[in-house]
């Protein structure tokens, strides 16, 4: 997006006042989204994100700025203004920039941005027809296909030889939302499979027919659900998107963003038991074509498979360059950002609890009274206290080891430390689910994952009184 010669000038301007690391992050993001409301195209939009962010580190200080004007004048002025916040003398003169080889671990042949919109509309209409056929009480069905291709260029330097990285990210998401209504009661259900992949995967590999049918059926089913009871109960959480509980309850607290400043409940936990010994967990940005994967991170580091917990013992954090300095740890490919408007920091990618030895049906069978959560709307965490919350979008009562009636309005709350120790069963059916994670460096695509697990006791909130 800019020449090497200009990048060299900007890096040297940035390092003029004593900075020990400078980086230019350039981005062009072309996105498309087509939305159907009750089977008819409502909107079809194209948009372009475009700009550059410049970061200068000096020991444990960081300055960052961005602009959407990529002229030489604009970039050099931004670098100059940022450098002015340091008062030292030049330590580094960048003499050259070498282009780095970026290994493509997420190959795509049929680019989503090249697929004619008519083809996407045809798929969405087929999805709509399947959902609409489920029940006449489905009053609103939305079908959305969104995709983007982000071209990124990074120039960085912490010595006389600078580095240049080029990378492309390309993701698509097929969203279905069904709303059922009857006698003033409204319930909605959401499905949103996504992938770092081309059109073939969405059209031919993804079982969109099953997703579309399930979306309608679940919205109808939740209309008949009674209010969730409240109190402390055993809770079995299904595989896949159920992993959001680990993402919130533990994952965020293992990001260097929180641990480096000792602002996390797990700040000093490496080598310590923080979970039941049946729990092992990973964050893996290298899974080919997965929703949270990438070839390199936002600093140019190659993504990695990072183990976070081994048999209940904390063995690692997710580390970015800046926070790694406080921790005295190397960056491990986990630095991410939404776009050039955000300074990068340590974030999750594809995070999951590894498979256990149980069978999911045995875990249900061994639970006399409890709650079975099969889908969540999402959740949030306070990394300092470790306290988290999740809202279930689909849940059932377990009675005498059997899955019984559905319940709605179910919230799970607790603390990360407590819940990790309370996971007492893990099945052998690990799966992943796609979501968007919001934090200090913006909203980014992440996979969460887990096998079916049981938490032996957790606080459940709802309006349905006591569980009997």
């Amino acid at each position: 997006m800019i020449s090497k010669a200009l990048a060299l000038k900007v890096l040297n301007e940035a390092l003029a006042t004593g900075g020990d690391y400078a980086e230019i992050y350039l981005e062009q993001n072309d996105s498309q989204a087509v939305t159907l409301e009750n089977g008819k195209v409502e909107t079809n939009g194209n948009r372009r994100g475009f700009g550059a962010g410049i970061r200068i580190l000096n020991g444990l200080k960081s300055v960052y700025g961005y602009t959407s004007v990529l002229s030489a004048k604009s970039l050099i002025t931004l670098a100059h203004d940022l450098a002015a916040s340091y008062t030292g003398i030049r330590q580094i003169t960048v003499k050259s920039i070498a282009k780095q080889t970026v290994k493509v671990i997420n190959p795509i042949e049929d680019h989503l941005n090249d697929v004619p919109v008519a083809e996407k509309i045809t798929l969405l209409k087929k999805c709509y027809a399947i959902t609409a056929a489920v029940d006449k009480r489905l009053v609103r069905i939305q079908n959305i296909f969104s995709n983007y291709r982000k071209n990124i260029e990074i120039f960085s330097a912490e010595g006389p030889e600078g580095k240049q990285f080029e990378n492309s990210e390309e993701r698509g998401r097929l969203v279905m939302v069904a709303a059922a209504a009857e006698n003033g009661k409204i319930e909605t259900y959401f499905e949103g499979p996504g992938r770092f992949a081309g059109w073939h995967w969405f059209k031919d590999v993804l079982d969109w027919k099953a997703k579309a049918k399930e979306c309608g059926e679940k919205a109808i089913m939740m209309m008949g659900a009674k209010e969730c009871p409240s109190g402390r109960y055993p809770v079995v959480i299904a595989n896949g998107w159920g992993g959001v509980i680990f993402h919130e309850a533990c994952g965020h607290s293992l990001e260097a963003t929180a641990t480096a400043k000792h602002l996390s409940v797990f700040s000093d936990s490496i080598g310590q038991v923080i979970a039941n010994p049946i729990v092992s967990a990973y964050d893996d940005g290298t899974m080919p074509n997965e929703w949270g994967s990438n070839n390199i991170d936002s600093e140019g580091h190659v993504t990695q498979k990072n183990q976070l917990i081994r048999d209940g013992v904390c063995v690692g954090f997710l580390v970015d360059k800046f926070n790694g300095r406080r921790l005295k740890m190397e960056a491990n490919g986990a630095s991410r950002r939404q776009n050039y408007k955000y300074e990068p920091t340590s974030r999750m990618s594809n995070t999951y609890i590894a498979s256990g030895k149980d069978k999911p049906e045995d875990i249900i069978k061994d639970t006399p009274l409890g709650i079975y959560v099969t889908n969540f709307g999402g959740g949030s965490v306070n990394p300092t206290t470790g306290e988290f919350n999740f809202s279930a979008s689909e849940a059932y009562i377990i009675r005498d080891g059997k899955v019984c009636e559905p319940v709605r309005g179910c919230t799970l709350i607790g603390s990360g430390k407590e819940v990790l120790m309370n996971i007492d069963r893990a099945a052998d059916d690990v799966d992943l689910g796609q979501g968007m994670c919001g934090s200090v460096s913006g909203s980014i695509p992440v996979n969460v994952g887990q096998p079916t697990i049981r938490i032996k006791e957790i606080t459940v909130g709802g309006r349905g009184g006591k569980l009997e």
Binding site: A33, V41, G45, T67, V69, V139, T384, G386, S391, I413
Partner: protein, 440 residues
């Protein structure tokens, strides 16, 4: 950029009516950690959204890249967008309102205040928090941010509107430790006049909040008379107002379907939208160029209006309420400066009659815990027990569950502690007859 050229070019390509909006922002932010500036950010951004009508269909496109090719990119995008549209209604843009209530809300003194003064202010807050009490373990961050926004609106009918605004916000978070117990507290101050900010009161607010949290327990699950602090009520009322969107109602996705001019809340409830209030949320035109107007949404417990843009108003045979706002690739419904009328009673007055109840001071997880279509919600909460009319032991890791309409029906009274929150809602603390609290 020469927008007249855009309109001419658009017309030659078959876009009969067109509109273009440009937004330019400048921002400065910085934060401290352990008495050192650990982050300093500056930025200048720009973005353009354009829309138009092609053969009676609406299309839109947006970009952040402004150069010689921008007009071509936007025009091509509008045409592709409109061609795919299957909406039955004929689209048309807006020529302009008869009158606009423009006010100058830009405060030049904010940008002119020396940066040293702003840095000194956040140092004062950090020092004050560390010194507040020995239980304060860490000041997690103290940050200052200021932003200038210039919004321009032009259309092919010759309408030209501009608004310049600026604001700052100061945020701070501290945590404390007592034994194994870790608690944290934070606050944010938003305004555009630095002289209105009182650092001592800000520090005391966070410090008091933090210390009061230690020793929190779970209460027994059940239904309790409940006081919702103004910040908490603001978050809930925000969802209620979003359900008054005519778009959601027409799509049968709102619990307010068929409720116009009917009693949907206690007669104590009065909710208005006042976009013309001179504060940081002021706005005198919407994204269709319609003049903004103050209006009652709920009066004496009766729903008085839905919020309309031009398209939804036409469907209901009425006129736009000036609530058109970009929502993805279409102009949907938005709002700001929501005011829920309080009372003359003090906080002590409203808790005095409660024998055993709950005072909720913070909630978390409402974003996913709210079913905006039905108004049912369930989220994490913390606060205090109320015993014999007084605040008692702190509560932690409890849940608050309810339904928005039921909550509004059950409102007994408000107090006089009005607060303008970041959600652009101004409201007081509220006493709700009973709400479901989950604990042990």
């Amino acid at each position: 950029m020469k927008f007249d050229q855009f309109f001419e070019l658009a017309k030659t390509k078959g876009i009969s009516e067109s509109q273009i909006q440009i937004s330019k922002t400048k921002s400065l932010s910085m934060s401290l950690f352990h008495h050192e500036m650990d982050s300093y950010n500056i930025s200048e951004g720009q973005s353009v959204i354009a829309c138009g009508v092609v053969d009676g269909k609406f299309g839109s496109c947006r970009t952040e890249e402004l150069d010689a090719s921008t007009f071509d990119y936007l025009i091509q995008g509008i045409i592709e967008s409109a061609k795919a549209s299957e909406k039955g209604e004929k689209a048309e843009l807006f020529a302009g309102s008869e009158k606009y209530h423009k006010k100058n809300v830009f405060n030049p003194a904010l940008g002119e205040t020396p940066i040293e003064k702003k840095i000194a202010l956040i140092h004062e807050i950090e020092d004050g928090l560390f010194a507040f009490d020995k239980k304060v373990n860490e000041v997690e961050s103290v940050a200052y941010e200021e932003r200038e926004v210039l919004s321009e609106f032009y259309n092919s009918f010759g309408l030209k509107l501009k608004q310049k605004s600026n604001y700052f916000y100061i945020s701070a978070a501290a945590n404390g430790k007592a034994g194994d117990e870790v608690k944290d507290a934070w606050d944010v101050y938003l305004g555009n006049d630095l002289t209105t900010f009182n650092p001592k009161a800000f520090i005391k607010g966070i410090g008091d909040k933090l210390l009061a949290k230690f020793g929190g327990i779970q209460c027994v699950s059940g239904y309790y008379p409940t006081i919702l602090q103004n910040d908490v009520f603001s978050s809930l009322i925000n969802y209620f107002v979003s359900s008054a969107s005519s778009d959601e109602v027409q799509r049968q996705s709102s619990f307010l379907i068929g409720k116009l001019n009917t009693k949907i809340a206690s007669s104590k409830v009065n909710i208005a939208e006042k976009p013309l209030t001179k504060n940081v949320f002021f706005s005198y035109f919407d994204d269709e160029g319609v003049s903004a107007q103050n209006k009652d949404i709920v009066k004496g417990g009766v729903l008085k209006t839905y919020l309309y843009n031009r398209e939804t108003a036409k469907r209901d045979g009425t006129t736009s309420t000036g609530n058109g706002q970009w929502e993805g690739d279409k102009i949907g419904i938005g709002y700001g400066n929501i005011v829920v009328r309080g009372s003359k009673k003090s906080f002590e007055d409203i808790i005095a009659p409660i024998h055993e109840g709950v005072y909720i001071t913070e909630i978390a997880g409402l974003g996913t815990g709210m079913n905006a279509q039905s108004g049912d919600f369930s989220c994490q909460a913390q606060g205090f027990m109320i015993r014999d009319g007084k605040l008692a032991e702190p509560l932690n890791l409890i849940t608050l569950s309810g339904n928005l309409v039921k909550m509004l029906e059950d409102i007994k009274t408000f107090d006089n502690r009005m607060k303008l929150t970041l959600e652009s809602v101004e409201c007081a603390d509220v006493y709700v007859k009973k709400m479901a609290i989950g604990g042990k």
